[in-house]
Symmetry: C2
Amino acid sequence: MKETVRIVVDAMGGDNAPGEIVKGAVAAVKGRSDIHIILTGLADKIEKELSRYQYPDGSIEVVHTSQVIETAEPPVAAIRSKKDSSIVVGLTMVRRGEADAFVSAGSSGAVLVGGQAIVGRIKGIERPALAPLIPTKNGVSLLIDCGANVDARSSHLVQFAKMGSIYMENVLGVKHPRVGIVNIGAEEEKGNALVKETFPLLKECTDLNFIGSVEARDIPAGVCDVVVCEAFVGNVILKLYEGVGSTLIEKVKSGMMTSIRSKIGALLVKPALKKTLKTFDASEYGGAPLLGLKGLVVKTHGSSRAKEVENSIYQCVQFKQQAINEQIMAHIS
Amino acid sequence: MKETVRIVVDAMGGDNAPGEIVKGAVAAVKGRSDIHIILTGLADKIEKELSRYQYPDGSIEVVHTSQVIETAEPPVAAIRSKKDSSIVVGLTMVRRGEADAFVSAGSSGAVLVGGQAIVGRIKGIERPALAPLIPTKNGVSLLIDCGANVDARSSHLVQFAKMGSIYMENVLGVKHPRVGIVNIGAEEEKGNALVKETFPLLKECTDLNFIGSVEARDIPAGVCDVVVCEAFVGNVILKLYEGVGSTLIEKVKSGMMTSIRSKIGALLVKPALKKTLKTFDASEYGGAPLLGLKGLVVKTHGSSRAKEVENSIYQCVQFKQQAINEQIMAHIS
């Protein structure tokens, strides 16, 4: 049997906390026996939720914390002042080696800032990167970086490419992941100063399957597995994905309601369509890992329900058991 | 009656040239009497197309050019070496004042490079900007800049905001256009170095209705009329719009084909849906003006058909008759 993976789950984070978070944690320990969950947050609220379920003895532990970091709080100040919050206590357990991973659906800013400040970077990693999975035509791609630190240097982007490639190969099982850099044209001489500087560096990396420039138009078609860009561009891509998707789906729905004929048709296509569109919903793909830290920190969508929490926990198990951080260290040094 | 507007149309540019280009030009002169069209390109091919239509005497003129710039050619070299191409001859007519505007569905690069090099910038304009209209939930927004020059300075972005605002107000009739800057958060302190530097400058512009930062997620919802960003980000937004849209529509179509029930439904919703989705197709909104030049240059989509060419021609008329360039000059000095 494989080694048990100890995962701290922030029971207070996200729109559906603590109910859906606790439910997801219970599902995970029932689904696999090599998981130990530590729930951080207000103990009485967590215990109340836990009392509704049956699960293996000793598989879930509660660590009481008295403070909660709200989504709107300025992250740096929140991390500094709320030492007894579910986020700070959880991240501290990872730093101390008392847990292998931390999962939160709470404040992105606080998780990012806290991850760097408390857990700390792997030696040699210049900047950690937030790397969500985005849906494509027939699967998913890893978009790296979508973090809070913008204006990256070329050396950062090269590290992002390596970490992203290791993650896709070992956590998602993609053989020789295709790595592309976001650019405004396919030719090597195109791009802004950062891309032009990074391109030849990526070409030299013998440990990468670098396929060159990728235009934004081709990202949803799934032309590469690891989409490398600096965080400003990554944020624009991630959020525009969501924005175009939801506006277009609204248009499809309202378009179906314009005549009696189409209304009847809508009733017939609805179930099949719903299933298909679900495959294009970014929130379906578990959490975004913050790669490059000494322990694993995973940020799940603020609107996560039990299923996403459960999936994020499984992601952590895979991450630990595949020794991703050891591989990152080997490729960086 | 209003002054006649003289518009050069590149009859050789785009996937459907010369057939659809000529057809669109004919439709325009039949639609309005204040338009004079000059078609540049291989005269025998153009005349052959023209012979298929009836149109007012003297409303269309053909200027023969012996060379054609292909889409794949390096733009700078093409503009320099092909002096007798439909693009170079057309742009030269605008520079000499023999025409008010130039419309092309040909090589974007050549039109951008040629526009700057041949027509030239308005005095005081540091960098011209390519500004396509993008579809939103209930209308369109102007995305400025999507041009070929990346790594802009804050002073460029301020000029983009002003030119875009004048265009939306006078060509599209939007009163007090809402101007937003693309950012990764709503707060003023967020963003990369360029956005942080530009934000206070835009706030100071009393001639702008500046609404602050706009997240990419909210662009498709239509939260602002003028979306300001540097060209790398603009290109990513424009192309991702197209990419997410087409992948999602493919998903919708295949989703409808998964069962007998949904196939029947698909037949019923198809006509209504097609009409709705057309409103979210960027190619429906005419051409993208290259703002900041001494004359008007409009780039239409490479796949443009007669309707888009006709609409681009009307856009030019509005641009000239509303004296957009005179207004830009007044706001820049």
